[in-house]
């Protein structure tokens, strides 16, 4: 057994609730102010309305925080839930956890959908949702042991700050004989010293005999965990079978699981090959379609873009089963064995890198002008070990590189770092500084929104330029797609509840490549239904990839191919089989609409959630600089002439940039108008009284909130 100094400060025994139709109907509340451990029943009406997963998380948080709560206040909660379908072995993507908290980057709820075994293990240990509030005096480890029916809190003073090692140590400590029984949630040094800390969720890879990781990356949830002085949360559980969720209809569950898994097994190898290359197929496709972020989202492709995609990683990924859930047929959580970093604390040592995925390759590669897979792997590895979000890290470093190249900041500000695009050594050094909270890295770790204010106020930089090129919305850094030519995706980012993360509405192909939504109304409809489908996966504890990243061969014959209705029908069957609650496709959407609007109201409660917060920087809409305009001059010139009826004869580039900007900004406003109308919101982006009543979330405090915001 690994020798760790863990001092038990609180322990309770409990009687584990039996799982009934996917639910334990219990919640676990841990208050670190007093080491309180409280188990509560989940009321039937909460279950009916909020379903599970993100719905449960948000409901718990709503009742814990006030409109004045800041991310680092004790009452801020970190909630983790799976969902009624989570923990179904063999169902593709059937083991996700959804995490929420008030984000240090956005000051509103952030949600993150993550693999690994924690969510299902916690549920099978007896708890649909875990809520952590308060702040510990000393660093603690929380253990939820579903086998022994015990919950313990340990104080610790000497555990490593490195999430990579810590997860291994704790897995070994809590079940050396059967490490597959353990899942660890932890973060690292970077979460302590930046606002973009992530959580690593583990599972034990029995083939390779090692601990593996997936990340709840966005919005700084790891920073909140570190602020609460929680070193790690550990769930322990043993056998998982179809029976563990105690489904309402076992035969129906077996049938739909087999059907969906067979489809993935048959078609993935003919389509995106995610079981071989994860999401790295997207790198060359995005590069070819001018959507791969290059040099802080200035450009959408690069001659070397192919170098950091599936061409390389097909060979580099270590062969073996890479499902982040038991028996998942998508099995896309690949990694690279025996990688040797050239910098930092692991310099010269062989490590296993979990990743990269597309977002990391784009954000920490092309967006930094880096087309060397080794550097991407090294940034990926250290972000995980430090507990930092690769998307926010990549987008933030891209921003400061452009600021440096444009002279908005200088070597004096960067403490000597030459932050040119493509400078791999400087990028790595900056990452280590961010993790340690030192030098210029201490500023970059605060995220782009705060950097813009610091650069303008303290460094005298051009505030307007900073605003135009700083790729954040609501305080969250953009994920890694160029949206200039896709108005719908601009809305997919700017009108997303938590900030610009593609998981809510990914519409680039449907809008820009396939041109299936030519009108504002078409785009607004897509920006209604796509988030509803995505929300549903977060309610139930599922991954979205098996929905529409592997497409049925007869999908093209369906009335609405974009919705991949055949798979949605299977999800309805899946839900009915586990929960016994008969639903159809419309029923799934209705579940999501409740929680989606509730989250928007939560934003409003926190002082946001209105139109003024749904904006995006102009770089997301169009060319900020003459060079960007020139990179797509034919397209932009044609658009000015044909779409906006502008006579461009004799016009210089700067004038064209200005006119195009006015028109594109107008388009975005019209899109927001159409989306708000479709979603049943006011012109200011607030759910109407009629909408909240229709959805049954017209609670007294919700109605008071609406009234306080002039909605009656």
């Amino acid at each position: 057994m690994t020798q760790l100094n863990l001092k038990e400060v609180k322990s309770i025994s409990y009687e584990r609730a039996d799982i009934n139709k996917g639910y334990s109907d219990k919640s676990l509340h841990i208050n670190l102010d007093n080491s309180g451990i409280d188990i509560r029943d989940i009321k039937a009406e909460v279950k009916e309305k909020f379903i599970g997963g993100k719905g449960y998380d948000l409901w718990m948080m709503w009742n814990s925080v006030t409109s004045d709560t800041k991310w680092n206040d004790p009452e801020n909660a970190i909630c983790i839930a799976s969902g009624p379908l989570g923990g179904t072995p063999g169902y593709p993507g059937g083991g996700k956890s959804i995490v929420t908290t008030i984000s240090p980057l956005t000051s509103i709820p952030i949600d993150s959908n993550v693999g690994g075994y924690f969510g299902p293990y916690k549920k099978f240990a007896g708890f649909d949702v875990l809520e952590i509030t308060g702040k510990a005096k000393e660093e603690v480890v929380i253990l939820i042991d579903g086998i022994k029916e015990e919950i313990k809190i340990f104080e610790t003073k000497d555990l490593v700050d490195d999430s990579y090692q810590l997860s291994k140590d704790l897995t070994d400590y809590f079940d050396k004989d059967k490490p597959v029984n353990i899942s660890v949630v932890s973060t690292g040094l970077g979460a302590k010293n930046s606002l973009m800390g992530c959580l690593n969720f583990t599972w034990y890879d029995t083939g390779r005999k090692m601990t593996r990781y997936k990340q709840a990356g966005r919005g700084g949830i790891g920073t909140v965990l570190a602020d609460k002085k929680v070193k790690a949360v550990v769930a322990r559980w043993n056998q998982v079978t179809f029976k563990t969720n105690n489904p309402a209809d076992m035969e129906a569950l077996k049938k739909v699981t087999k059907t969906h898994a067979k489809e993935i097994n048959t078609l993935d190898s003919k389509q995106n090959r995610m079981a071989k290359v994860g999401t790295m197929h997207l790198v060359p496709i995005m590069n070819d379609h001018d959507c791969l972020p290059v040099n802080n989202f200035q450009y959408g492709s690069h001659a070397e873009g192919q170098n950091i995609g599936e061409l390389y990683f097909d060979k580099a990924f270590h062969k073996g089963f890479d499902g982040c859930w038991k028996g998942c047929a998508v099995a896309c959580a690949h990694g690279v064995k025996d990688f040797v970093p050239v910098s930092g604390p692991y310099k010269g040592k062989k490590v296993f890198v979990d990743g990269p995925e597309y977002e990391t390759a784009a954000g920490c590669g092309s967006n930094l002008g880096i087309f060397d897979p080794s550097t991407i792997l090294e940034i990926n590895f250290y972000c995980d070990a430090y507990g930092m979000d690769t998307i926010s890290v990549g987008t933030s470093i891209g921003f400061v590189m452009e600021c440096f190249e444009r002279g908005l900041i200088t070597k004096e500000h960067t403490k000597g770092l030459e932050l040119f695009f493509g400078n791999r050594v400087a990028a790595l050094e900056l990452l280590h500084q961010m993790a340690e909270g030192k030098e210029f890295g201490a500023i970059v770790g605060k995220g782009i929104r705060k950097m813009k204010a610091i650069f303008a106020k303290d460094f005298g930089s051009d505030a307007k330029m900073l605003q135009d090129i700083g790729m954040e919305s609501k305080g969250l850094e953009f994920s890694e797609y160029i949206t200039k030519e896709s108005l719908a995706q601009q809305g997919g980012y700017g009108l997303a509840l938590k900030g610009p993360q593609h998981d809510e509405a990914w519409l680039i192909f449907l809008d820009m490549v396939h041109n299936f939504m030519p009108t504002f109304e078409n785009k607004a409809e897509a920006l209604h239904w796509f988030p509803m489908f995505r929300t549903w996966f977060g309610l139930c504890g599922l991954c979205k990839l098996p929905w529409n990243d592997i497409v049925p061969e007869d999908n093209k014959d369906q009335a609405e191919p974009a919705k991949v209705v055949k798979h949605v029908g299977w999800y309805a069957d899946f839900f009915s089989a586990v929960t016994g609650r008969k639903v159809d496709i419309d029923g799934l959407i209705a579940m999501s609409e409740v929680v989606y609007n509730f989250q928007r109201l939560f934003n409003l409660k926190m002082g946001y959630g209105t139109r003024e917060h749904d904006t995006v920087p102009y770089r997301a809409m169009g060319p900020v600089t003459p060079e960007e305009y020139e990179s797509r001059q034919d397209l932009y010139d044609t658009q000015l002439i044909e779409k906006y009826s502008i006579d461009i004869d004799g016009m210089d580039i700067e004038e064209k940039v200005k006119i195009l900007r006015k028109n594109r900004e107008d388009q975005y406003v019209k899109l927001a108008d159409a989306v708000y109308l479709r979603r049943g919101w006011t012109e200011n982006g607030i759910p109407t009284v009629e909408t909240v009543k229709r959805l049954g979330i017209d609670f007294p405090d919700v109605m008071a909130l609406l009234k306080a915001n002039g909605v009656e």
Binding site: K270, F509, V513, D549, V551, V564
Partner: protein, 65 residues
């Protein structure tokens, strides 16, 4: 002869991906194809020549990431 989505099809010299698309129905969602395991995206369909005996899969891309 080439094999497209597991069905044999006639092949001719200098046949491009765009040529192939013209004779296949319902290619609306196809933004990329794999030819012998190598990926080609739609901006390159006109200039990419399919070799004889190629194994071709059309990728119905709707979403990603």
């Amino acid at each position: 002869m080439i094999n497209v989505n597991d069905k044999d099809m006639d092949w001719y010299e200098d046949m491009t991906i765009s040529n192939l698309m013209e004779v296949i129905e319902d290619t609306d969602y196809c933004a990329a194809v794999r030819i012998n395991d190598v990926l080609f995206s739609s901006p390159n369909f006109d200039k990419t020549i399919i070799p004889d005996n190629a194994k071709v899969y059309l990728l119905p891309l709707i979403a990603g990431g």
